[in-house]
């Protein structure tokens, strides 16, 4: 009767090829890295290979690529206007990368790369460094006018400027924690509810109740697919909105 599972076990990193050590820390090519390479491969398949023919009437794969591209181009244009076109490669790559990794995580027994905080924080740090570096390059010190809200009496600025700075620093944190927490919580919840089915089946007369968590697991799976797509979209949208601050900081 004592069947137990560890719902966090699925997030364990498993080194596939060891590359040596730095101190006590092993450097290894993990399954996480393998999934990232696989994601890049799938994205390349969708975007490069499928559009190689460049037919006017798109085939199935080409129209898939076009749907993704136009969707992100629209989102970016709405958030940043015409000046944001140069960031299309960045935003599109981020969106596709996060989307494909999220959806990979939904394959049974697969590993969800985006449920590791360091991965999502790496992506968020990339976004924020692009915002800061591009903003300073383009506008110089004028970029820091972002932290000074306009139309506020001088004494209040002493409080508002630190708040704006903290609010800016909180952006990469909220960007990464949101994606990470959604994926982590979703996968843990699915695992636990699925395990309820097994536990109830082993619990004698109580096993008549076992369809209940089964239905819940099915519903959760559908919800997780929605969350996987939605979080990729939210990540890309927020990236576009933050890039807008780098393009038009003066407010």
């Amino acid at each position: 009767m004592a069947v137990t599972i560890d719902p966090i076990e699925q997030f364990e990193l498993k080194p596939l090829v060891s590359l040596g050590h730095i101190g006590h820390q092993q450097l290894a090519f993990t399954q996480s890295a393998l999934y990232m390479f696989a994601a890049v491969g799938v994205i390349a398949l969708i975007t490069i290979v499928a559009t190689a023919s460049r037919s006017v009437v798109p085939g199935r794969m080409q129209s898939l690529a076009e749907i993704f591209y136009e969707f992100m181009a629209d989102t970016l244009h709405q958030a940043t206007g015409d000046g944001g076109k140069r960031f299309m490669p960045l935003v599109f790559s981020l969106f596709m990368f996060v989307l494909v990794l999220n959806l990979f995580g939904m394959i049974p027994y697969a590993f969800a790369v985006t449920s590791h905080l360091i991965v999502t924080f790496g992506l968020a740090a990339l976004v924020i460094s692009v915002v800061v570096i591009y903003g300073v390059m383009k506008h110089g010190s004028h970029f820091f006018g972002l932290f000074v809200p306009s139309g506020v009496p001088k004494p209040l600025l002493a409080i508002l400027v630190p708040i704006e700075i903290i609010s800016f620093i909180s952006r990469p944190i909220s960007l990464s924690v949101r994606l990470f927490a959604n994926m982590l919580a979703g996968h843990i919840a699915m695992k636990i509810f699925a395990f309820f089915v097994v536990q109830l089946l082993l619990a004698g007369a109580w096993s008549v109740l076992s369809p209940l968590p089964l239905f819940l697991t099915i519903a959760l799976t559908a919800l997780e697919f929605l969350v996987a797509a939605l979080q990729a979209y939210v990540f890309a949208t927020l990236t576009a909105i933050y890039l807008n601050d780098a393009l038009h900081p003066g407010h």
């Binding site: 709405q78 708040i163 909220s174 924690v177």
Partner: protein, 124 residues
């Protein structure tokens, strides 16, 4: 919110009556009106979206608040480390972090801060 409902006129196969035609015309007009702001986007006066993006917005809000507090805490800890002002930097900046978190939430939900591009999270 797509163009499908303009073509669904049920009696369209036979000879459509005048009222049917004018109803279809009105439906088309409202659709064009809905499409128009998308064709010429104006960053300040866009309607708030519904559907997947508002769900995304709901998920945004909680992390915005937590992130503000965490950012304040980290910043306070760093300030204490650098300037040796042991408890005070953390206390003050954690409180400011709370304020920043609430400010974040207000801005995301559209109560404050008319910074263009901050609150126009809508479906393309």
């Amino acid at each position: 919110m797509n163009g499908d409902d303009a073509r669904d006129g049920k009696g369209a196969e036979g000879t459509p009556t005048d009222s049917e035609l004018s109803a279809r015309l009105r439906r088309l007009e409202t659709q064009i009106e809905r499409k128009r702001p998308q064709a010429a986007p104006d960053p300040s006066s866009r309607p708030r979206g519904t559907g997947p993006s508002s769900l995304g917005q709901a998920m945004t809000i909680s992390t915005e608040f937590v992130a503000g507090v965490i950012a304040g805490g980290i910043l306070g800890w760093i300030v204490d480390h650098v300037f040796g002002t042991k408890p005070w930097g953390l206390i003050v900046l954690l409180m400011l972090g709370f304020v920043a978190g609430i400010y974040n939430v207000m801005r995301v939900s559209g109560f404050a801060g008319a910074r263009p591009g901050r609150r126009d999270r809508q479906e393309p």
